[in-house]
Symmetry: C2
Subunit: 680 residues, 2 copies
């Protein structure tokens, strides 16, 4: 294979590279269409917009165009609120050709900035401008990145290095990277950043740390990014010496009110709190025999006078509860529908368990019509091979967004989307050169969930790598394949949570011991008869949490989608699937198919060397080799393990396992990224 001679890149510029357009005809056209900038205001946000336009045009067209006061042919006029239809709301924009000029207008400055980034995206992806007329407004109000970054610089489930929030040097030193982050985030319409881990540290609410957060908020303000902080429910005990954190205690109420006031004095546009309470050891209102709504409303009432919100996570399950874990959040929260304050949003993961390669949609969606909901997705690849596996998540996110509840598709039941960030200190932000596609996807879908996975891949690839058609076509195919590949080599047919314990790196279907619902056996239920978790009425009846007709569809073996089969059913090894294969043979097929898909991705990538600089090309190539190796590890370990129940051979036309089950079970991995507290 022959490398391209393109200059080495490291991915730091993400999708905002603004590299010179090589197509001479297109370049000539753009240069006549874009000859000057006209702006009527110099607000901080419009200054950002102007700088971005100058930078983008300089990079893409190779020209520095003048700023003028008069609109001439070729002018790009931005910031004119009078030209924006009121229907676009606070964040929407219009991009329109008008009398030989191009107008980028919004009702607010931030709307204009979003429009500017869209305009630059048109140029980056080589779109025609002649009849451009775009009107766009976000379909969801809240589009928030959730950073699980800790104050000590580690990131929970962070696979791209460590945190780039340098709390130690804040507020005095503002790293240039913060500005690059703001540009990237805003370019895809994200309007909030929760800076700190949901497994929260109360210190983040002390004056010392609030000043640090305020410095970031000041920097982010022109970009329309509101800062959110995770709030530890027991903070009044830990940083204020109160004797209780009971949400109905007058002293506690007063403390949170004062804390809210203190925060808004230095961060006037503070977004609000995100709270993980009474889940996985986190403190919460249950500690005082109060409900989640009691806890959420305590904080919400404190923030309400200042316009802040509380994002209360629905990822709750009891430390001891014999009930099917996937049912617990629903059981706990749905009865409280209508009890939450108006400025509380309940943030619900896409599925009822925990970011598995594939889950059914969370049954809370469509079941709490009197509560504002957020959809939480995870770009960090906690269960998807960490940052070494290429997994494009747009199809995954869209499976949930498009899933039909009785209130319509999930997307219509939520006010916002939260994405657990996959960013870190790695130069390319996300570890894997394709990781940024998921960050990008999150922003694009939160703005417009009707976008197709293909369309998002297409524009991301063009901006990130190349507009060459053969490249874009083949790489889009790779990305789309990459959604199903890990499902196949890790957890096909609805299997779930059979990863190694704690760090989730590699297969661990044999994991047992300790809490049942933290073992793999709990989830796969393999025995000599078959495999899978019976969640039908004859089992845990989790299907009952879905409304009709979905519950019936899921409850029946023949109507349950096969890709969720073992999520809902305990299925006999000899049960015949649609393919005509028995369950065992289908498992063997799927695990092998996953490996095959990765190999196809490798071959596709190898064929694209001429389109990508050697540095990024070789980086992806090395990671695909790791992915292929680990796909085989998953396949061999899982099939050998499940074979101890099925007692059937792996069909001879498949690759046979490279080692013994004992070998795989004895593999030990230390210092897997994303588990900061793990020490040998």
């Amino acid at each position: 294979m022959k490398h391209s001679d393109k200059p080495a890149e490291e991915g730091y510029e993400l999708w905002l590279r603004y590299v010179p357009i090589e197509d001479e005809a297109l370049l000539a056209t753009y240069r006549t269409r874009i000859t000057s900038l006209v702006c009527v205001s110099d607000s901080p946000t419009l200054k950002v917009a102007q700088a971005e336009l100058l930078r983008g045009i300089k990079g893409l067209l190779g020209v520095s165009i003048p700023l003028t006061d008069t609109i001439q042919p070729g002018a790009v006029v931005f910031g004119h609120p009078d030209l924006a239809p009121p229907t676009l709301g606070d964040e929407g924009y219009i991009i329109k050709r008008l009398n030989e000029a191009i107008v980028i207008a919004g009702n607010t400055d931030i709307g204009v900035l979003y429009g500017v980034f869209h305009f630059l995206r048109l140029l980056q992806t080589h779109q025609p401008l002649d009849n451009v007329h775009i009107e766009s407004a976000p379909k969801l109000k809240y589009r928030i990145l959730n950073h699980w970054d800790n104050l000590d610089g580690t990131i929970e489930r962070g696979y791209a290095g460590f945190s780039f929030w340098d709390w130690h040097k804040l507020p005095d030193y503002l790293a240039p990277r913060y500005t690059e982050y703001a540009r990237a985030v805003t370019s895809i319409g994200i309007n909030g950043a929760a800076l700190t881990n949901v497994n929260a540290n109360a210190l983040s609410l002390t004056p010392q740390y609030l000043r640090k957060a305020a410095a970031l908020a000041d920097l982010f303000r022109p970009y329309g990014i509101r800062v959110y902080l995770s709030a530890r429910f027991s903070a009044p005990l830990e940083i204020a010496g109160l004797k209780t954190a009971d949400p109905l205690d007058a002293g506690v109420i007063a403390w949170w009110q004062a804390k809210a006031q203190e925060i808004y004095q230095i961060i006037p546009d503070f977004g609000g709190f995100i709270v993980k309470a009474n889940s996985e050891g986190q403190p919460g209102p249950h500690d005082y025999y109060r409900s989640h709504s009691d806890g959420a409303n305590l904080l919400a009432n404190a923030l309400a006078p200042f316009g802040g919100i509380v994002i209360w996570r629905a990822f709750v399950y009891a430390s001891e509860n014999p009930e099917d874990r996937t049912k617990q959040a629903y059981d706990d929260l749905v009865p409280q529908d209508g009890l939450f304050a108006a400025n509380v949003l309940l943030q619900v993961k896409n599925g009822p368990l925990d970011f598995q390669p594939r889950e059914p949609y969370h049954p809370i969606f469509g079941a709490m019509s009197h509560t504002s909901l957020m959809l939480e997705v995870q770009m960090a690849q906690e269960y998807l091979g960490l940052a070494t596996h290429m997994v494009y998540m747009a199809p995954l996110f869209k499976e949930t967004l498009d899933a039909e509840t009785c209130d319509g598709p999930v997307a219509k039941t939520v006010l916002g989307m939260a994405g657990v960030a996959n960013t870190g200190s790695d130069r390319n932000w996300c570890g894997h050169p394709f990781g940024a596609a998921n960050w990008y996807t999150f922003g694009r879908l939160a703005w417009d969930y009707t976008l197709s996975s293909e369309a998002i891949a297409d524009e991301w690839l063009r901006m990130t790598f190349s507009n060459d058609t053969p490249f874009v076509q083949k790489a889009t195919g790779m990305m789309l394949t990459s959604r199903e590949a890990p499902v196949n080599y890790m957890t096909p047919l609805g299997l779930h949570h059979i990863m190694a314990r704690s760090h989730h790196y590699g297969p661990g279907p044999w994991v047992t011991g300790g809490r049942p619902d933290w073992t793999s056996l709990y989830y796969h239920q393999a025995d000599s008869e078959g495999i899978g978790f019976n969640r039908t009425p004859s089992g845990s009846n989790a299907v009952s949490q879905y409304c009709s007709p979905y519950r019936e569809q899921l409850a029946h073996l023949d109507t349950c989608p096969e890709n969720l089969l073992l999520w809902f059913h305990h299925v006999a090894w000899r049960h015949v699937l649609k393919s005509g294969r028995t369950l065992w043979d289908e498992l063997c097929f799927k695990y092998n198919e996953g490996v095959t898909q990765v190999r196809r991705m490798q071959a596709d990538w190898d064929s694209l060397a001429e389109y990508v600089d050697a540095a990024r090309f070789e980086h992806v190539r090395a990671l695909l080799a790791i992915q292929e190796k680990e796909a085989r590890w998953w396949r061999d370990a899982c099939l050998l393990y499940f074979q101890t129940f099925s007692k059937q051979p792996i069909p001879a036309d498949y690759e046979q396992p490279a080692a013994s089950l004992e070998y795989y079970m004895n593999l030990q991995h230390y210092f897997v990224p994303g588990i900061p507290e793990q020490r040998f």
Copy 2:
């Protein structure tokens, strides 16, 4: 102040930027002197040399010169061993103009590579080539970076982000940064890298991790960099299940022999082990009532057949010992002089305590003539303001290198130098844009300890920032000032170890409780009479560890250098110093002088805006502002605290403390970098 319009830089290229030479006359001359490359071999090392020459010449001169087989005028001929004097040894080189060509020759390929980097340095610093004739060979054999990087990605005393060894992805993915590291390291003559923390994890000696280290060793080999690993003395217990780690036990001996063989099978040029034993909780031979030489020789004998060495750290002190801590290493080790195997090097810190802003030289130097010694210095600023303070360490290192022992200067008593690396994942490698100067200095002094601090600063500045004379002059002045400034605002007049506990961030002269020798009171001994540690014969008599006449010089108040006064003497508050000021007034003067020096550095830097790109300029500026703030913090806190003993006023012509002693004593800092294990 007006920023320069130079393009933004981040410091990633370190001193190997190879930016175009702007001086047209010089450029024209260089272009006639350098017109082709001639190389007679294509060994891996000479391929590296050739690539570096092409890259450097392309960058500096803007031309791509051809590789030819024949020597014509303007040829740069490299790799000719026949042209190298044998006296240059294995690593030396000659750079010489010969018949209109320039010859870079060495007896070995690595000698040539060092010569190539020197040649490029000549161009980078705008040196004339017409009569160039340089012969250079390292004055010290071992020039080793000590990385205190942990397998989990943290760095002990790391202030520039986290580790850039990505153990998780090794050996499959070799980050480009490893190659950049190798280039930088080799360019300054460093020939070894100890990859792992001296507070060692036995896992680094397991096959899984050895394969990772081997991948790095393979990459480093052409650069002449040998890989060393820290060895945990108790590894046989921890990773092999032996019942003892007793160095005289046959099973233990056999285990280390087999381990050495295993290592050399995959790393044939493995450098050896570095060991911290029986110090600060690390296991060691004392656990079995054996001596340090027993322990060191165990490992040395295992490595000897393969040419490896053991670097045994002399930083040892007992967990319970009433003796003056600064005396313990000498007491423990000097009696063992002559007992260490030939391939053991004893690695001795520059001073007898622990990398304080200023220490006397370690009395082991000159006292163990039958033992091979290494000098250990620390670029990581554990006690020097972390990576936020500008502290140029060449003068500090040279104070020790030049210090006279009875065997001559310290430099003549050692076989090598080890430097605790200040590198991390920060884009600019060392956190502070001036931090790399200390990395650079370490390499340059280890190669040639006769270089002056000014000369090293001059060449580093020219390569890192600018050849403009006004810039180089003023910035050199700043760097030289920066050595004494922190001594003044932290620990003037020989004070030591009065930093905050554990993380050492900020002042903590009041630190007490726990082990006496981990408190500040132990070291400053302030009372109503005076301040300082009496190490004369009437006190701990640590001076007796120095030979005559140095011991007498240090023992007497009037001959002891004032900059070490309180290290060796308990001095009365009203004692009059050479300045004519009393000790108390001199302390006040020095603490204020430190702040003044930082302010002078700030003013100097502000005057240099036109010479430095805005990005690096503003970065340094922000950090100098932090340094000034923290210098005041140090001054005010220390003077207020010591005032409780002196009972004297801070002279009115100095700035008075900004807050109360109580305020400073109550300051709490969490998550200070460099203390991975610290959790709230």
